[in-house]
């Protein structure tokens, strides 16, 4: 047994312990924080499994964004809604849980033992990748080979925002619990961090074609900046979705649709990206759309306006 496997075991045990704590614990606030920690450990697992793209995405989106959304919702529903104790007879649930858990373990282990299929999709991707001009196989799958999935995923994000707008009803945008800006640190943090995040986001986006990174990791960084700006009051939520907001929210999906459907008109199969320009166009539009969508979902707002305006 190598040192690496020992680290894996500790990580695995921590994951199990944290997940148990998160689903059964008594204090919701603390368990949300523990859930964020859980997400960060999952990100470490991705790194251990050799998937840096996923580690980046998990840390920023899975742990960071989900956690921020959860904490925000927790604040909105108020501390007086602390849950009642769990149901009296968890016996059945325990049996179901143990059964499903062992089921997954048994079939998971069995699946590990199977010899790799010679022409698995993953190998086909590596073979076909040079033809796309991309160096990062994951980006290749996301944008070229399985672009339909990614396009529909953008639709899922759009629907989540439209759905949130629907259940928001006619209510004023949720009151965002803002950080007190009179503290000198927060203001200067923003002036330092905002340009850096922009730089990092663009770097991730461009790097994503050949190295770990891409639109999803970049958008997560931008969203972080957006969330910070909402929290500090630099951006204020509004109740109306202006034209620019609506345009930017659909931009990612629209870019995909235009390129994907347009390919049909010029004699290619639908969803064919006819050049590197298409990759950059779609990735940039996706990054902006996702970042704005997520920031709006965080602020539970239909639009955002600057502090002064």
């Amino acid at each position: 047994m190598t040192v690496g496997v020992v680290v894996d075991m500790m990580l695995g045990l921590a994951l199990v312990a944290l997940s148990l704590r998160v689903v059964t614990g008594g204090s919701l606030f603390r368990d949300i924080v523990l859930f964020i920690l859980f997400g960060l450990l999952v990100a470490l697992s991705w790194a251990r499994l050799g998937a840096p793209d996923l580690a980046l995405a998990e840390a920023a989106i899975g742990a960071g964004l989900t956690g921020a959304l959860m904490l925000m919702a927790y604040r909105s529903i108020g501390a007086d809604t602390e849950e009642r104790p769990v149901r009296r007879r968890p016996g059945v649930a325990l049996v179901v849980a143990v059964l499903t858990g062992s089921l997954v373990a048994v079939i998971g282990l069995a699946a590990l033992g199977i010899e790799r299929v010679p022409d698995a999709a993953g190998d086909a991707v590596l073979e076909a990748l040079p033809g796309t001009g991309l160096g990062n196989a994951v980006t290749g799958v996301l944008l070229v080979f399985r672009g339909l999935d990614t396009m529909l995923e953008m639709a899922v994000l759009l629907v989540a925002l439209l759905g949130a707008w629907t259940v928001l009803g006619d209510a004023r945008p949720g009151r965002v619990h803002r950080v007190d800006r009179r503290t000198p640190l927060v203001g200067s943090l923003l002036t330092v961090v905002a340009p850096i995040t922009l730089l990092v986001a663009v770097h991730l986006l461009l790097a994503g074609t050949d190295a770990p990174g891409g639109a999803f990791q970049a958008c997560a960084v931008l969203t972080g900046c957006g969330v910070l700006m909402v929290l500090t009051g630099t951006l204020r939520p509004t109740a109306v979705a202006g034209f620019a907001t609506r345009l930017l929210v659909v931009a990612g999906l629209a870019a995909f649709v235009l390129v994907g459907a347009g390919a049909g008109f010029v004699g290619h199969a639908p969803m064919t990206l006819t050049g590197t320009w298409a990759v950059y166009l779609i990735e940039t539009a996706m990054m902006l759309s996702i970042a704005l969508t997520m920031t709006l979902l965080f602020a539970r707002a239909r639009g955002l306006r600057g502090e002064g305006s």
């Binding site: 089921l103 069995a110 022409d119 698995a120 399985r146 629907v159 629907t166 649709v257 290619h268």
Partner: protein, 486 residues
């Protein structure tokens, strides 16, 4: 030509959705109708090609499976696509009146409606396990959001329950997808079918997947979310939920079972699924009979009618496949009509308590007629589409000497007659003199107009489907599972 038409089916509603979001509200009606109408000629082109004997197929981005995703249309998926078009077209007419595009509710409704249409088409064209997961999530999220559109607490509770169960079901499905991919190295359903050997691993993965699909299809005992969700949603949304949204998972289930389910070919699993269907038929019908509210009654009727689809698994014959596919069509059209009529009556009477229906035929004859005609099909009386479906199903059960299934099918029709007649009898009952005075909250709305016409048109179509079943059946024959001959 035909492969490009497949793209139009998905892209036309999607582009319309994006345009509706960005454009000013007054353009919404035109854009939405254009997006939906454009799919009709596309469907026609694809149908012509399929009737010509080919399977229309396009590898997206030129990457054929296992590398990428392919869209594929055979008789089965095309039948479902036509159901989608018919239901969506008429329900959209209703929604034009119930969700005017300039109202707040309308502005929220139309983009999601169009995305739902696009994702249902995309689902029926796709046979890629992961792509199906994405489209399923899209369908579920839009459906949940549209249930909550009215903002009533009861509707939002129903939406929340549906969402939680739906997400859980998706995870089961996704876990199974992961295992199947690990085993076969492909996500294409047909290739999975070819490569997946028999064995405990394959069986378990498929069982996980089927469990997830059963939850989303609301098959008893996993139906708990359906009645409230379908009963509390706004009229057009209820209609499309019952007519289409629960069918998409059944479609995947049938595809999976008959095209890739070699590992499940042991009779017991099929029998269990059939048994669930039988329980659903009896339980759903009885629950519908005891309801006191019209929309809840219709919702429980859906629980019962979905049970018939499950009988396909134990019967597993060409006759049963034709019957069940036709049943999905007939039920979809009739149930959409029923929900629209019920919603119109609810809007007109201010309540959908069954007692309030007394004498409704005199004030709202069109809607009551629509409900009654749709009821004829749901009960399976001739000459409706429901009759043809149930008759064929009975024949299939008879041929395979499944006497138990025969009994269940007959009992289901009798029980359906009870709940349908209960409503119809009340509506046509002579009102007592006192109640002929218009009650407060009773508005003349819904007497005529687009909403009633949409309900009636769908109901008439449910009847016509029975008279003109031959062309539909010939289309279904072009999508039979491997190993079944017409």
């Amino acid at each position: 030509m035909a492969p490009d038409a497949l793209a139009v089916l998905v892209f036309a509603p999607l582009v319309a959705a994006l345009a509706v979001i960005v454009a000013p509200p007054r353009a919404t009606t035109a854009l939405a109708l254009a997006g939906i109408a454009l799919t009709a000629p596309a469907l026609w082109v694809v149908t012509a090609a399929v009737l010509g004997g080919e399977v229309v197929e396009v590898a997206l981005a030129g990457a054929a499976p296992p590398l990428g995703i392919a869209w594929r249309a055979d008789g089965f998926s095309l039948t479902m696509a036509w159901l989608t078009f018919v239901v969506v077209a008429f329900v959209s007419l209703h929604a034009l009146a119930s969700f005017p595009s300039t109202s707040d509710a309308g502005r929220r409704f139309w983009p999601m409606w169009l995305i739902l249409v696009a994702s249902v088409y995309a689902l029926f064209l796709s046979a890629d396990l992961f792509n199906l997961y994405v489209t399923l999530e899209l369908v579920t999220l839009t459906a949940v959001a549209m249930i909550a559109i009215g903002g009533a607490p009861a509707a939002m509770r129903a939406a929340m329950r549906y969402l939680l169960l739906g997400l859980m079901a998706s995870l089961f499905y996704l876990l199974a997808t992961a295992l199947l991919y690990g085993q076969t190295g492909t996500l294409d359903l047909y290739q999975v079918g070819e490569r997946l050997g028999e064995g405990a691993l394959a069986t378990t993965a498929l069982a996980l997947m089927i469990t997830g699909l059963l939850v989303k299809s609301a098959i008893v005992p996993l139906h708990v979310w359906l009645p409230a969700a379908h009963g509390k949603a706004p009229g057009p949304v209820s209609a499309v939920l019952s007519a289409l949204v629960v069918k998409v998972t059944l479609y995947i289930l049938i595809r999976l079972w008959f095209w890739a389910g070699g590992a499940l070919d042991d009779g017991l699993a099929a029998f269990v699924l059939g048994l669930l269907g039988a329980v659903a038929i009896v339980y759903g019908s009885i629950a519908a009979i005891v309801q006191t509210r019209l929309k809840m009654l219709v919702a429980y009727s859906t629980v019962a009618q979905l049970g018939y689809v499950m009988l396909l698994f134990p019967l597993a014959s060409t006759a049963a496949f034709r019957a069940v596919t036709f049943h999905v069509l007939a039920h979809g059209v009739a149930k959409a009509a029923m929900f629209l009529a019920a919603a119109n009556l609810l809007a007109a009477l201010g309540s959908d308590r069954l007692q309030r229906l007394v004498g409704a035929d005199q004030r709202y004859p069109v809607n009551v007629l629509a409900f009654a005609l749709a009821g004829v099909s749901i009960m399976g009386l001739p000459p409706s589409g429901g009759f043809v479906a149930k008759w064929m199903l009975l024949e299939a059960a008879w041929q395979s000497q499944g006497w138990g299934w025969v009994a269940v099918i007959s009992a289901g029709s009798l029980l359906a007659a009870v709940y349908v007649f209960r409503v119809v009898a009340l509506a046509y009952a002579q009102p007592r003199p006192a109640s002929s005075v218009r009650r407060p909250g009773t508005t003349p709305r819904g007497r005529f107009g687009a909403t009633s016409v949409a309900a009636l048109a769908l109901a008439v179509l449910a009847i016509v489907l029975g008279i003109a079943s031959a062309p539909v059946l010939s289309l279904i024959d072009l999508g039979l599972p491997p190993g079944m001959a017409p």
